[in-house]
Amino acid sequence: MYKIKSAEFLAPNIKKFIIEAPKIAQKRKAGQFVIIRIDENGERIPLTIADSNIADGTITIIVQGIGKTTQELNSLSANDSIRDVVGPLGKPSHIENFGTAVSIGGGVGTAIAYPTAIALKEAGNHTISIIGGRTKEFVLLENELRAVCDEVYPTTDDGSYGYKGFVTQKLKELIDSGKKIDFVLAIGPIPMMRAIAETTRPYGIKTMVSLNPVMVDGTGMCGGCRATVDGKTVFVCVDGPEFDAHLVDFDLLIRRNRTYSKDEKTALEHTCNYDVAFEKALQGGN
């Protein structure tokens, strides 16, 4: 059993958990994930490790209640326990001093981009963070990112806070303002990541995305998480989760993630709003 030390909502439906997992806290590097199973009847789902505290022996995960398991998870509180937590899994983010590095998070994706933003800063990059949210309340971890990054730009779809528009628009603005950007990490809904890939592609900016397909074991044993990158099949759990955004087949990823959507009726009712907004915008030719 893995005890929850604290649990608090960061935004509607988005909850931050600090969980006792001393081994994982010690080992984990930016970009890696855990697989959790809430109870004996539970399914195994992957969640990126947002942070850790070696002294306290804890890891932080930030969860958006979308499907049955994530919603159930978000109903847990401090002192509750999670049956199984295994990790750290996956390859750590590739970190080097690129020069100027932009980390972009959309919705709960900001939590996943956060540890890599720290690592990029520690590697000596001039670090810029763009935090996308549908409205002000979905702009996550702004204070934490301000403490780390050289520049932080919150964006909201409705302009209720920060820049009015999508993270892609803000990124394009930065590029067009003449800022030399050497590296982009984008984590969020698949349509957002795809749009970022298309934004940076003409400029040849190295761009990485973190994929979150359906997984079971997380160790390469089942192959359920396969994706196509550069025309080749990869197992996201062991070959990723981060890949070159310009080589990822996002359409396939979206399709495969719908495999169990019939089984996840709850998921449909609670589809990430940022996701929906992006789909609409993209269909509208944005």
Binding site: I24, K68, R83, V86, T219, G223, K262
Partner: protein
């Protein structure tokens, strides 16, 4: 019971295994084979001629004293028979169910020369089940503690058999398992209807009672590396992680929705209990009324296709590129599959999966094959017949063509010797790797094989580890 003459014994026919009717069982996940009754077991045990030099034992990878345990059954001493089995086999209830006895011990039985071999596997199962059901699994004596610690990586058959031997030798044993439950392929791979999970649990509980420490949720390589285990107090390490990297066909359309590896399909159903969705949270492809095709001809393919039938598939097919004669599955498994209404399509090879606009599998393009000259495996090689391509409507596909070696250990322990295919190189007599204090066995060494061969490797390793711990080399 009056002593029978040899002639009288030889007149008793081989006793059939009672089983659930094919039409009934294809709709449930309960065990297919029901096990011998006491009467059947006594009859069958009396068929054994109690050879002065039993050759059957030479066919057993763990060297079970077959003659003696069967002799004990014929005397009605079932618990003693179980104890005799346990001297050499940590998991008799498992092996009595899943070993290919017809290729091993039973293939050596002298009765088999003119007639039918003694049903050794069925008797093994009877003795083990008798013990578990009437006495509870009893734990053998363990030797005084040696103060040495061994880490075993992987809780499948190889790891469990090694753990069982080492703990009895007096060593402390910790078994690390990547998944949340203990048993490896016995849990995630072999279906409930062939190996009820309560049996695996009972065997694992018995090992716990002996003092084996099981650590689930531990992916060695990530959670701890092998070097960290060796520097944190473990005197030796046994790597028994299995194969664990599913092969795909590498044909177009393989990433369509509805195409599964056998590992994924079986893990969802067996380990995660998707057949009881939504009581259990893990879903799996809804097979009800659908056409399912399983590609491959081994035991895993049989497990997958029979599972799909139980999940309600309207048509459940095995598609195999060679002919029935080359089928690698046990004859019993293929026979059971046919009884359950599984259709077999031989000499057909998939070329491409075709999907609808939403990315769901709808068809497979097949090519007819014919058998040519024998290949490296000694089996006649399937050769495509030009121009014979055709389409078949399917909704779900399971790829069951074997496993490669999982790369996690290799990536995190580069100083071991590996083959080109990523298998760990060992001395076959001792299971010693190129790294001091590190041993390996089972599918990670041999590539995908059987439960009992993995268990045999675990036993060999346990003996060598014991010597290594005593002598330090």
């Amino acid at each position: 019971m009056a002593e029978l003459t040899k002639k009288e014994r030889m007149k008793i026919p081989r006793q059939p295994m009672p089983e659930q009717d094919g039409n009934v069982r294809s709709g449930n996940f309960k065990e297919v084979n029901l096990g011998f009754t006491e009467e059947l077991a006594l009859l069958e045990a009396q068929r054994c001629l109690q050879c002065p030099k039993p050759v059957c034992i030479s066919g057993c990878p763990v060297g079970v004293n077959i003659r003696d345990f069967i002799g004990l059954i014929s005397e009605g001493k079932y618990a003693e028979a179980a104890a005799k089995l346990k001297e050499d086999n940590a998991l008799p209830a498992v092996c009595g169910r899943v070993c290919p006895q017809e290729e091993q011990c039973e293939s050596k039985c002298v009765l088999g020369v003119k007639g039918e071999a003694v049903a050794i596997g069925r008797l093994e199962r009877f003795a083990a089940d008798f013990e578990r059901n009437t006495l509870g699994i009893r734990t053998p004596q363990i030797k005084p503690k040696t103060g040495k610690k061994v880490a075993i990586i992987g809780s499948g058959p190889s790891g469990l058999s090694c753990a069982g031997d080492l703990i009895q030798m007096g060593h402390d044993v910790t078994v690390f398992e990547a998944l949340h439950a203990i048993g490896g392929v016995l849990l995630y791979g072999i279906p409930e209807f062939r190996l009820p999970k309560e049996i695996v649990k009972a065997e694992v509980d018995a090992l716990s009672k002996l003092g084996v420490d099981f650590q689930p949720n531990s992916v060695i390589g990530f959670t701890d590396t092998i070097d960290e285990l060796l520097t944190s107090g473990y005197d030796a390490v046994f790597i028994a992680v299995g194969a664990g990297l599913p092969y795909f066909l590498n044909i177009p359309g393989e990433n369509l929705n509805g195409v599964y590896s056998a590992n994924e399909f079986l893990t969802r159903v067996n380990l995660m209990k998707a057949y009881r969705f939504p009581e259990f949270d893990t879903p799996v492809f809804d097979c009800k009324g659908k056409n399912v095709a399983v590609f491959g001809g081994g035991n895993t393919a049989m497990d997958a296709v029979r599972t799909s039938k139980r999940l309600g598939a309207a048509k459940a097919n095995i598609i195999y590129r060679r002919s029935e004669n080359e089928l690698p599955a046990r004859a019993e498994e293929a026979h059971h599959a046919k009884q359950e209404g599984i259709e077999f399509l031989f000499l057909a090879n998939p070329l491409e999966f075709i999907g609808d606009k939403d990315g769901w599998l709808k068809q497979v393009k097949l090519q007819k094959m014919e058998l040519g000259e024998p290949d490296a495996s000694g089996r006649r090689k399937p050769v495509p017949i030009p121009g014979s391509e055709y389409l078949m409507d399917i909704d779900m596909a399971v790829i069951a063509i074997g496993n490669g070696s999982n790369p996690i250990i290799q990536k995190t322990t580069p100083d071991l010797s590996y083959t080109k295919r990523g298998n760990i190189v060992v001395d076959p007599d001792t299971m010693k790797t190129s790294k001091k204090g590190v041993f390996a066995g089972g599918d990670i060494v041999t590539g995908g094989a059987t439960v009992i061969l993995a268990m045999g490797a675990g036993r060999t390793a346990a003996k060598a580890i014991d010597e290594y711990l005593k002598e330090g080399k």
